[in-house]
Symmetry: C2
Subunit: 324 residues, 2 copies
């Protein structure tokens, strides 16, 4: 895991070193602000790690790693406008600190900056990594649109939900790993395995997020426990409960979701009780483990010595055992 | 000029033939709508024409031409949100017909679609045309930001204004021509001349726009005469008048700009009188001709037989002699 830390440090240094054109400052200050807000830098670190797995050197993949991180932050800047989100990493979002117009336009520039970094990669692989990047970027936008659509729908199936989180969250993780692999001249089947590892791990990661929202340790979970429940957010837990609840349980669930008199504490308590009686947590964990194990199977299939792959297994394990 | 018409028809056919993924329709219908609203298709047609000038065939440059047109329409979709513009080409803008979120996200997808088309070009030229494209795309965003900034500023110099219209309008025309040239393996100095031809023609085109707003023939000019004047828009005409007006004339100009009692007709009449006494129209035409002649000088310097270049000269003349 030490290597990941080194890569994260490298990415943070490179992002801090970017020289932003000074004018017009309304365009460039928000970009600097957005990129220096922090974040786990998981995607670019995984890109560099995948590159290393197939014998590449960080300098071969650094521009692509920066491209992915800048693109990811571009989507956050635009998503925060669409979601009316006031805070991101405990700081005002770009659209709150400045305004929507600034967030739209500086986001647009970030998207182009991402392409610009990607285009600095080894030209021999440019067509291939651009193809992965463009396909993924469009999928991420589709995922965001589906997520917004779901808010207004009465019924969303589990399959539709899994498809949405795959697009919104998992494919960018997967693409980061694949681009790293391609830039180290990995065999196509290995590049696909590393993609599938990332995609399945990304879905498992999001399901873990859904579980932690309600079943996380309040002392260790960074946010309010039950935040999704209070917002009637269509997570895996709620969708599964809606699918399974019948008779009195269905009535009780509908009451909890629609009542305007129920206080917050009671709502979380009563919905937790419904979930517990339907064994929703266990079912979500089983689904999560399915994706987690699929991820590990793809990792196993990569034609590289086991000891080189250990860091990915450790990383996946750490993601699954996190408490926040 | 017949060739331009053929190219415009080709571009329109290709745009109509794009198969948009059906779901989520909130994302793809606005893209189709935006691209089918029409427009002169000047940029992609000029790209194909520049390609032809250096011996290229339309099929070598068609993807890049589509990329430029899709990118241009992406900027319009986002600009219309920022400018609160209700109409574009006599139809509701995307953000009015749907909403801002739809316009932001479908715009983002259009930007990626543009890159995707560009990436289908001959790989031998990909690094170079991506570089031209990315540099230009960022400049276009800078131009839009400057334009928005100018609305809130008291003083904008003529140089600042010319820089803004160069970025917002002229460089994309210039880049279209240069990309067409590069894809036909034009010599670097010829590619630069064709870029400078486009850039200077683009600035002249915008200055002509400014002049037509007040001095166009009301019967032929598509919009209300004096629209810019009524909106106190900082066009070349107004900025030049502010630069030159002194004493009583300055007082009269300030009164016209700030009065809340002046009716529309009187405002246009009195400002026209001020402009006339300062010979603003003649000065704007002189400035425009400077850029126009610089454009023609660059055209002249391109190392291609004169008869092949005639179509560009005819095109430039037509743009300068237009009445709307």
């Amino acid at each position: 895991m030490q290597k990941i830390q080194q890569y994260i440090t490298l990415i943070n240094q490179e992002l801090a070193d970017i020289k932003y054109q000074k004018e017009p400052k309304e365009l460039y200050l928000p970009i600097k602000y957005s990129l220096e807000l922090g974040g786990k830098r998981l995607r670019p670190a995984l890109l560099l790690l995948a590159n290393d797995l197939f014998g590449g050197k960080p300098e071969h993949a650094l521009n692509a790693a920066l491209a992915i991180e800048i693109f990811h932050n571009f989507t956050l800047v635009h998503d925060d406008i669409m979601d009316n989100a006031p805070l991101r990493r405990n700081h005002p979002t770009v659209y709150k600190k400045w305004n929507s117009n600034v967030a739209i336009l500086s986001g647009d520039v970030m998207c182009i900056h991402a392409i610009r970094y990607l285009a600095k990669s080894n030209p021999s692989y440019l067509v291939e990594i651009l193809d992965i990047f463009n396909t993924t970027a469009i999928e991420v936008c589709e995922g965001q649109q589906l997520d917004m659509n779901f808010e207004k729908l009465d019924t969303v199936t589990i399959d539709e939900y899994l498809n949405m989180i795959e697009l919104k969250t998992a494919v960018l993780l997967a693409a980061s790993l694949k681009i790293g692999a391609v830039l180290a001249h990995a065999k196509p089947e290995d590049a696909n395995h590393v993609y599938e590892f990332g995609k399945n791990l990304g879905i498992a990661f999001q399901l873990m997020d859904d579980i932690l929202d309600l079943y996380g340790d309040p002392k260790k979970f960074g946010k309010q426990i039950g935040g999704d429940v209070l917002a009637n957010k269509k997570t895996y837990l709620l969708l599964k409960a809606k699918e399974l609840a019948n008779g009195e349980l269905k009535k009780e669930l509908d009451f909890c979701l629609n009542s305007s008199v129920l206080d917050k504490e009671s709502k979380v308590k009563r919905i937790t009780k419904i979930f517990d009686s339907l064994k929703i947590k266990q079912k979500a964990e089983a689904e999560m483990n399915l994706f987690y194990n699929t991820a590990l199977a793809h990792l196993d299939s990569i034609s590289v010595a086991q000891e080189k792959k250990q860091v990915f297994e450790d990383f996946a394990k750490a993601l699954m055992n996190r408490e926040s």
